[in-house]
């Protein structure tokens, strides 16, 4: 009986104490016709020993390979210090529950307070929650929060740039649409790739908006004129919601400094702060805001307080916002944070520090720039937009993107994100990223391979995949 400690003697003694004959008798209040028959569970395989499941999982993990990755598009392959996960997976962090009993959870609570402090430092805002599911759902919470928090307008409309990650736009829609909010997409400038104020103006029309979402850098890696966009939002009674990459913030102006008054809310994906790519999750979304909106902030929040002896300590606070107290009137239904990931992110930021993060950002940027040079030297490959970029680069291709990506993948190179399906007007186009992990040799390997593929187009393979 894996993970069950009961000996035959234990079972007998326990049944005797309860006063029943068998464990089966403990289920006697359940209508008998509901009890499941063994055949119903036949689809579940028999137990494996740890040795057997280890063999199986190792084989499957090997199948997925370790290709050379030039995809960014919202998830970034950064170096993660060895200390990060060695500490984060310590049992005391890994197997602890939500710190409801604060006195028995000071480790987690203090760490969350430190995380909040780091995120406010990075974003330049006053308050941070202790994380949400991921960047996209954090944006959805940010939008809901902005609509609730905006006292200048009752508008339920929110402007979002088309140059925002397509998956973020989809997630936003799925989460906020049942509440009747309206999303208005703002197109980007076809030459610059940025979102000009004029486009905001046009999209907004004459109606008020509750919030404007500003993405820096945007999905194409293009740097937006965030000061103007923020000021426009404030001038139009809208709150400004920043969607930012926390590593980029080591170099770029923090949302709290945008425009005359600063963005009101900042959110984004914390994955670049020490979380493995892991096929998309678990990651962690972060959400920060100005002090005046803190009681509208969803998710867990940790505060510093004092104990009976006047000694400082940490506790979950503002719980009156949360579902377990406020039920249907809560700021959100959320009742977890991504504790383990935040543990990793906090240790990661402590190890990197501001200068370390800045170096990571600068190296990513330089590597992507260098990749742009190398790929740009291939006939027919050229930058899609002319404005300055950060850390990510959109390229026009001389051949169908999907086919090229398939051929690259066959050589264990993940060439980037195909922009065509989401932005048909840009097709064939590719979004590439080279983090600090990529070496010059790897950049050249990519460029040489792509050059060869473009020069000698091959019949695409059948796309068959092998089974495990």
């Amino acid at each position: 009986m894996p993970f069950i400690p009961h000996t035959p003697d234990d079972i007998a003694a326990m049944l005797a104490t309860i006063g029943v004959d068998s464990i089966e008798a403990l289920f006697d209040e359940i209508p008998a016709d509901l009890r499941v028959g063994a055949p119903a569970l036949n689809a579940i395989p028999n137990a494996l020993s740890e040795m057997e499941i280890t063999r199986l999982m190792q084989a499957r993990a090997r199948t997925d390979g370790q290709p050379l990755c030039f995809i960014g598009a919202g998830a970034y392959e950064h170096h993660i210090p060895a200390a990060v996960w060695q500490i984060a997976t310590r049992g005391e962090f890994y197997s602890a529950y939500t710190p409801y009993q604060a006195e028995a959870s000071q480790g987690t609570l203090q760490l969350l307070y430190e995380f909040q402090s780091m995120m406010t430092a990075l974003t330049g805002l006053d308050a941070s929650n202790a994380s949400l599911y991921d960047g996209a759902s954090a944006l959805a919470e940010a939008v809901l929060m902005a609509v609730r928090a905006n006292r200048q307008t009752k508008s339920q409309r929110v402007l979002i740039p088309r140059a925002l990650h397509p998956a973020y736009r989809r997630t936003l829609r799925a989460i906020i649409e049942p509440q009747g909010l309206e999303l208005v997409e703002v197109d980007f400038d076809p030459r610059g790739g940025h979102t000009p104020v004029e486009r905001l103006e046009a999209a907004a029309g004459s109606e008020e908006c509750a919030a404007v979402v500003i993405n820096q850098p945007n999905f194409f890696g293009i740097l937006e004129a965030v000061d103007e966009l923020t000021d426009w939002a404030h001038a139009h009674k809208a709150l400004a919601i920043a969607v930012v990459n926390p590593v980029a913030l080591a170099l770029l102006s923090p949302p709290g400094d945008w425009g005359a008054k600063g963005a009101d809310i900042a959110c984004g994906e914390a994955q670049p702060l020490g979380m493995p790519l892991s096929s998309g999750g678990p990651y962690a979304g972060f959400l920060c805001c100005k002090q005046e909106y803190v009681r509208q902030l969803p998710g867990r929040i940790v505060g510093r307080t004092l104990d009976l002896d006047g000694k400082p300590g940490f506790t979950l606070t503002l719980q009156a916002r949360e579902q377990h107290i406020r039920r249907g009137k809560a700021t959100s239904n959320i009742c977890t944070n991504q504790g383990l990931l935040v543990t990793a992110a906090t240790i990661h930021m402590a190890l990197l520090g501001a200068e370390g993060l800045e170096r990571v950002a600068a190296n990513c940027h330089a590597n992507t720039r260098r990749l742009g040079e190398l790929l740009g030297a291939i006939p027919g490959v050229e930058p899609l937009f002319e404005r300055p970029v950060f850390h990510e680069l959109a390229l026009r291709l001389p051949a169908p993107t999907a086919e090229l990506l398939r051929s690259l993948a066959a050589e264990d190179i993940l060439g980037g994100f195909d922009l065509g399906p989401d932005y048909p007007e840009l097709d064939p186009a590719l979004l590439v990223c080279a983090t600090e992990m990529r070496t010059e040799d790897e950049l050249r390997r990519y460029a040489d391979t792509l050059a060869r593929l473009i020069a000698t187009p091959v019949t695409s393979s059948s796309g068959q995949v092998s089974q495990v």
């Binding site: 359940i30 430190e114 759902s137 307080t305």
Partner: protein, 489 residues
């Protein structure tokens, strides 16, 4: 001391960042940061030492018995962690092609199949990131179902008064009104009240069974019949699935949609508050609305189904479609316990709960529902102790910490006064349960003899009882440079 307070200008964990720092002059000056953010500047050893020591200030499953009702704090097998963190899984980009993901996809597909079988549902999506997101997805599917049928009148979700707070919150997030149904004195849902409440405005009901009062609702079939007859759907809150795993299936009870908390029933780590994973299962009629992505299996191999394959889907709940690392852990756990192990989970969780209840009753504690079998959890009310000794449930809870036991869930569900919701789980041994009874007994003795000792608890932890009121009134949510001396003064 905060890590920020250990910071010294110019100190660094040098090995952790690139050794060279290239120029970034191509980034326009006006978009650049003017001053470095106030992140800690510490050495690698300082960070390691700080967080290692912080960790030791936590209670956790790996160090303590954690009988926290409704949270299913059972052992998280260590192999689940190491195998989910194999480089092939960890290093895979979410947008990598399926050719470079057959190993992962095979695990996810198998997990879908296992969850279908053990819940009796027709189809499963692994996308939701946690129980609450699963609830949202479930209610959103109920909404989508009625809307697809043009049935726009169904604006109300029924929720028992004992329900988890997430239930009403999720219903509201999906645009529904919430109507509470009372619980009868025997712990089952008040069937008459329910029958009176259902109608053409009823979109559905959200239930957990066994309920949060720790008993299996014997009228579940009648409830299902009543709701279905009124055109509503039944939502199963999987928070208590551990109690019935491999014994009774929500699908067989008549539920149309269900979420599962893998971090409870499938033993993925709680991680100090997350990440969770909240897959949803549905009956056939709700299948088109499942959140994407889903994993399918064709001759050519495993593949993702996304928005374009599932046009009626309620959509995408996170950018990349789920907490893969958690799903892998749940899959590994499921394979380790296997088919027979599923039923054993419920058997021994139930045995432990009933034994612990019997022992506590012997020791003089009062059960909230003494006539009922406990499911995997049960409620003890300390109202007598509160009245007689002036020592309340919170005091008991805090004092238990001194005895080396995490406190059970306190003051939930709201309908039982001075209550402790106790869930021992199947992975604790008889000796641990006996030790807990001994501690409870000792604390009651203290409550009688030296009540201040209990009211002043905890005494042996890094801090004594914390002032939550102060925390909420004098908000201190983030350290800022220069503020240290005041705070610690």
């Amino acid at each position: 001391m905060l890590i920020q307070e250990q910071s010294r200008t110019g100190r660094r964990a040098t090995a952790q960042a690139p050794l060279h720092s290239p120029e970034v002059a191509d980034i326009p000056e006006g978009l650049r940061r003017r001053a470095r953010p106030a992140l800690p500047e510490v050495s690698e050893m300082q960070a390691v030492r700080h967080y290692t020591r912080l960790s030791q200030q936590n209670f956790s499953i790996d160090t303590h018995f954690y009988p926290l009702g409704s949270c299913t704090m059972k052992y998280n097998p260590r192999a689940c962690n190491s195998l989910a963190m194999l480089p092939g899984f960890l290093g895979r980009h979410p947008l990598a092609p399926e050719t470079h993901g057959q190993g992962l996809l095979a695990c996810l597909f198998d997990l879908q199949e296992i969850l279908k079988a053990v819940t009796g549902m027709h189809a499963v999506s692994l996308a939701p990131s946690a129980g609450a997101q699963g609830e949202f997805a479930g209610v959103a599917m109920i909404r989508a179902y009625h809307r697809a049928r043009g049935d726009h009148a169904r604006t109300e979700i029924l929720v028992p008064d004992a329900a988890h707070g997430t239930n009403p919150a999720s219903a509201v997030m999906c645009g529904f009104k919430v109507r509470e149904i009372p619980t009868g004195s025997d712990g089952d849902v008040d069937l008459d009240a329910l029958r009176a409440a259902v109608g053409p405005q009823t979109a559905g009901i959200m239930l957990t069974n066994p309920s949060t009062v720790g008993v299996f609702d014997r009228n579940i079939q009648a409830i299902a019949q009543a709701v279905h007859a009124a055109g509503g759907l039944l939502y199963y809150d999987g928070a208590n699935l551990n109690a019935i795993l491999g014994q009774v299936r929500p699908g067989d009870m008549g539920f149309d949609v269900i979420h599962m908390n893998l971090h409870k029933t499938f033993s993925t780590p709680h991680g100090g508050g997350g990440p969770g994973a909240g897959p949803v299962g549905v009956s056939k009629r709700l299948e088109p609305y499942l959140p994407v992505p889903l994993v399918a299996h064709e001759d050519a191999g495993y593949l993702w189904l996304t928005e374009s394959d599932r046009p009626e889907s309620i959509g995408r709940l996170t950018a990349f479609g789920g907490n893969m690392g958690i799903l892998l852990r749940a899959y590994i756990y499921a394979r380790l316990i296997g088919r027979e192990g599923m039923g054993r989970v419920a058997e021994f969780a139930t045995l432990n709960a009933n034994y612990l209840l019997a022992r506590l009753q012997e020791a003089g504690f009062e059960a909230a529902y003494p006539e009922r079998r406990a499911s995997h959890e049960f409620i003890v009310t300390l109202k007598r102790e509160a009245r007689e000794f002036g020592v309340n449930t919170m005091d008991f809870a805090k004092r238990l910490l001194d005895y080396g036991y995490h406190a059970p869930t306190t003051y939930f569900p709201l309908l039982v006064p001075e209550c402790l919701l106790i869930e021992p789980t199947e992975t604790e041994s008889k000796e641990d349960l006996d030790g807990f009874v001994a501690a409870m007994t000792a604390i009651r003795h203290e409550a009688q003899e030296t009540p201040e000792q209990v009211k002043g608890a905890p005494h042996s932890l890094p801090v004594r009882r914390l002032d939550d009121v102060r925390a909420a009134r004098q908000l201190d949510l983030a350290w800022t440079p220069g503020a240290s001396e005041d705070a610690h003064g």
